[in-house]
Symmetry: C2
Subunit: 277 residues, 2 copies
Amino acid sequence: MRLATLDIEGRSQAAVETSRGFVGLPFSNVGDLLRVPRWREIAEQNLSGDVLVSISEATYLAVVTEPRKVICCGLNYRDHILETGRDLPSFPTLFTKYADSLAAPFAELSFGSESNEIDWEAELAVVVGAEVKNCSPEQAVSAIAGYTISNDISMRDWQRRTLQWFQGKAFDTSTPLGPVLVTPDECDPKAGLVITCHVNGEEMQHGNTSTLVFDSAALISYISRFTTLRPGDVILTGTPGGVGMAQTPPKFLRDGDVLVTSIEGIGELRNLISIHN
Amino acid sequence: MRLATLDIEGRSQAAVETSRGFVGLPFSNVGDLLRVPRWREIAEQNLSGDVLVSISEATYLAVVTEPRKVICCGLNYRDHILETGRDLPSFPTLFTKYADSLAAPFAELSFGSESNEIDWEAELAVVVGAEVKNCSPEQAVSAIAGYTISNDISMRDWQRRTLQWFQGKAFDTSTPLGPVLVTPDECDPKAGLVITCHVNGEEMQHGNTSTLVFDSAALISYISRFTTLRPGDVILTGTPGGVGMAQTPPKFLRDGDVLVTSIEGIGELRNLISIHN
């Protein structure tokens, strides 16, 4: 199944994608749907319902709008870590964003003059579908609601101001998320999905989710050892090589740039960057 | 005023302290009270109301139970930074916890075998009382609801596993918060409040809030440049010298230890540490 949170005449609504278009679900967003233990069954029962809006005319919101936790993993693509000469990590490097950090998948992303180094990071995001604490990687598999796309847009100047990256990672509306949540029966990142990031049509990042050091279940299991994860929580799994600060010379986003982030089998984010000084 | 979130026969309720005892307020916790713009007026109007419970018989919960954001500042006590030979920082070092990280001010704090290096960090916490984005330090002053006490209990082994401290800082129920929120008219950390931490009666930390590099208003203003702060959000302002990992040899909390965290004019947290392997 492919689930989305849509803007229907100014109102937020969860929906399930069918070959005929999006069918509405009786929840205001996908996060609220996931909080109902029978969410899969409810969504499946609605697959034959009336079409709410066609796919081409849908207005997408962030696929999950109010997660309690948005946890990000850094340094997680094996090929990228090895090419930089580092050893593979024993533990995932984790930091956080907020619900306020999220943005719609096709939103114009507006930034002020706070940062001069706005960079891209294409990432596979996994959305939690059950409450877990101290779960094994095997148990974590069944706690995965599905997968979506994000771009962990990072203010490198703020990120480097101190030892802790958080302040460069949690700018409001810096992180597009969506457009759809694809359930694991239709999407297998371990088998390998191509992930790319293009700026103004030029491919800047090209990776494969099969090279993640810590896969989605490993991350959920690890995080659950110190804190409870709940339905609708979001985990960003890290970015492959090719970010702007690693270019020679470094390259950052400018006013008017078009940022496209894609993952095979899920779709793409497309965001116009607007920088007003 | 001194506000608290109390457990009244298994139900959570906001209350205001009077010389007669706690008077109940029509909100389930202090965070919900703060979300009403007229919160000061409402609390003041209730000062003459009927006593709900005496101060000695009150059962305290975390003074704010469901903050959307809990942001912590590291390396913020001037005397402690200078004694370690470092320069004073230009920017605050920020990391995060969650509402799930919080605990009641007199709770027994139970930990499993995940960490062997459980350490203390006595901290002044400031609670936000208005929505702010891009505010000046002067505007931030009026967005302060009040001050309370926290202990940013840190799992040093997890904190040092990677470059990012978050995973050692966000263990569920690791951070007692309370017992009361004291409004700024009765509490001025800039003028200097003694902050201490005792383990089994031995003083381990002794600092003064007048030596904070970034005071509460400076932190609110800085954070508001990248993300929106809202009523009930909590900011931990950092810890003075004397943490366990800095002792020779390093000293960590053990099963049965009693941890007392106090700030002049606010009160104290008292937590029995329970470690079950």
